[in-house]
Symmetry: D2
Subunit: 152 residues, 4 copies
């Protein structure tokens, strides 16, 4: 179902990386940007005990934070230069406890409309050479134009 | 649509509060537990710039983290003593930027089955005397029994 | 959380009713329009065995069809005259088997933006004087303008 | 992300086909079962004008009905003989108008737990040799055991 996307802004990669660098929440949880392609962005998050829920797994919301950013930046990577990206809504299934040395979140654009961009995301828990899907996201992102306070 | 729920565990409130206190992620983001009733839990999160996305709003995932815990603990409040709570899945609509002095998240049980508990949640941005809904959640929580590593 | 909405089109009610009358699927399943208010629409569906799944309950998708129309028309009721309505996405929880003399679906607008309208919906199974919630929806609807083939 | 699944019931295919044949709603809308594999089921629906919404597209709810059955039977195909399948919840994105000679819905199991099975589904509109994705689903299905009224 994966489609290749032509970026509308040839400078999509530095734009995505610069916007990611402004997400203070990403720094606070320790997330890094791994890969930026047209319509696909990968982030990584080393496991940290101060981000866990009561049983010692990464909190579902923290995993969601990571994959929301992955999907949001996948969407931004195919938007024109005038657009900023906002999350409209998403749905997440927690398939397995988020336990591992680190999490790898991949966001992919499925449909890029002028205003709305639909993405899927997955989070994989990685330990050594092993990885397994722990979370699945289906998300709607929005291209916002003409609002000077919102720049990406 | 709100229904009163009879708690199956008379000690539901200290149990919810103790489990919340073990959520390291809640301490890391600075969330507090405000109110615990049978089938309804309220949390609060003062605004912090280190939890924002690139435009200066609270990151959608952080808002989700808060309301996921509110819904999860609303679900736990109506579960029997043998059950631990896990998030199965949720869907979130981001209605407006999460900007304000603090966020108030309320999770409510809509249907309490033996295994699955369905909740709705909302997050309100509060500034002075004004508050407005910024996020809406619909979530499925699961009662997990007989797994010694999972205790609530 | 319910908010009153001022309709942007004073003729919202006949417009909603006329569009509903053009939904051939509503006639096919036997749905009727019950009530149209600004931001709230109610539909009804008598139980029919030819709309059931394998255990004799109304098919989840048929219940979804009903509440999707209720939410879509709740959204249309607050849109301006130039807008047609399309469903962007929705999420549904099936709380209980859809069994009863008839289903009652209520769609409500929670947030009415210029382009996107967020709604919640519920379906109640009605038998005699008893009714209970069987389905919960959270939906995003879109106002489409300037596409002559799409008129509401 | 696709995983092969070993069926727990070697007779999974006739069981899925027999249950599908009992879904009266599938007959009413004219859906057919195309393919049954362990963890993957495909259905087809010829376009019919009496299943449309107000603009002449297949109603989003009818498309959902089709892909809900595809996901539900994908889930049943990996369940043990004692289990019946029920839809717990799903989320659907409507990517493009459902227009075409027929719709093709594919449901796939992503994670098969003992009680909950998570699936993704897509609906493709087919006209001649051309097809395109019009709908995306992420769904949670439940294995129900020990309830004599629920047999699959």
């Amino acid at each position: 179902m994966t489609t290749r996307f032509d970026p509308r802004d040839p400078d999509f990669e530095p734009r995505v990386r610069a916007s990611f660098a402004r997400q203070r929440a990403m720094q606070t949880i320790g997330a890094q940007i791994v890969r930026v392609e047209p319509g696909e962005v990968e982030l990584a998050l080393p496991f940290r005990e101060d981000l866990t829920q009561q049983h010692g797994f990464l909190h579902a919301g923290i995993v969601t934070t990571l994959v929301d950013s992955a999907c949001g930046y996948a969407a931004l990577s195919v938007m024109d230069r005038e657009s900023a990206v906002l999350s409209v809504e998403y749905k997440v299934n927690l398939l397995a406890p988020a336990l591992g040395e680190r999490m790898r979140a991949v966001g992919r654009v499925i449909k890029a409309g002028r205003t709305l961009v639909v993405c899927t995301g997955e989070v994989l828990a990685v330990t050594g050479d092993t990885e397994s899907v722990v979370t699945l996201m289906q998300a709607t992102m929005m291209a916002v134009r003409g609002r000077p306070a919102l720049v990406d």
